[in-house]
Amino acid sequence: MKIVNYLILAVFAGLMIVASAGMPNRGDANAQMNLEKSPVGSPVAAYYYIQNSKTDAHTDNMVTVILADWRGYDTLGEETVILTAGLICFLLLRKRRSSDDSKG
């Protein structure tokens, strides 16, 4: 049974290596994701981000501008999810305050 596990792992590792060899190089200007138009002629979002992140927000880090500015509403939702998780932990795990430890 252990042989089968290792075999499956090896097959998946080989699959990953083959798939990563077919990806475009980093920063390749001719890769499809960096072109202005998609194959069907619609505008590509990444092209707009690359062109306008510096001029729109005076920020060098593209990821920060996407995360905080253009997708700001999404990040607000993520943060609300974190706050909700914290509050639920507070409500579920915090012991009820008894009379003998009032320091809480």
Binding site: A68, G72, E79, F90
Partner: protein, 141 residues
């Protein structure tokens, strides 16, 4: 702390290292405009600095650094900073979270950069507060 025999080396090293972790976390938050980083990563490191002292020094002593009741407050304050930044932009005539309308007196593009900084601070505070609060809740329950 379950054991009475606290190790002084662990206690001292964690006490010395914790502020430096916090300093690097602040660097990660405030330098997120120019390098990888931002509110989520920096907030996690701030929480790690607080939790290090909690793990090493025990519950009572670590209350001197960051009180048990502060976690939820700090987290809520972070979310409020984020929301308030967007709300001020809405009051000044723009859309919600359109930082170009923040009343900072700079040109819109630079104002957007400042707005991104504000909400990164909010995200960092929220992540730090909530992580520490969850740790405290788990410890107490």
């Amino acid at each position: 702390m379950t054991q009475k025999d606290d190790n002084p080396i662990v206690s001292l090293v964690s006490r010395v290292v914790s502020p430096f972790i916090m300093l690097f976390a602040l660097y990660v938050i405030f330098h997120g405009h120019y390098s990888p980083g931002g509110g989520f990563q920096g907030g996690t490191m701030l929480a790690a600095a607080v939790m290090l002292v909690r793990l090493a020094a025990g519950r009572e002593i670590s209350q001197l650094q960051f009180k048990k009741s502060w976690g939820t407050l700090v987290g809520s304050a972070g979310v409020f900073i984020y929301f308030f930044t967007g709300f001020v932009a809405m009051l000044m005539g723009g859309n919600f979270l359109n930082y170009g309308f923040l009343p900072l007196g700079a040109e819109p593009a630079a104002t957007r950069g400042w707005g991104i900084l504000f909400i990164e601070i909010g995200v960092g505070l929220a992540v730090m507060g909530i992580l520490v609060a969850i740790y405290d809740d788990l410890l107490e329950g």
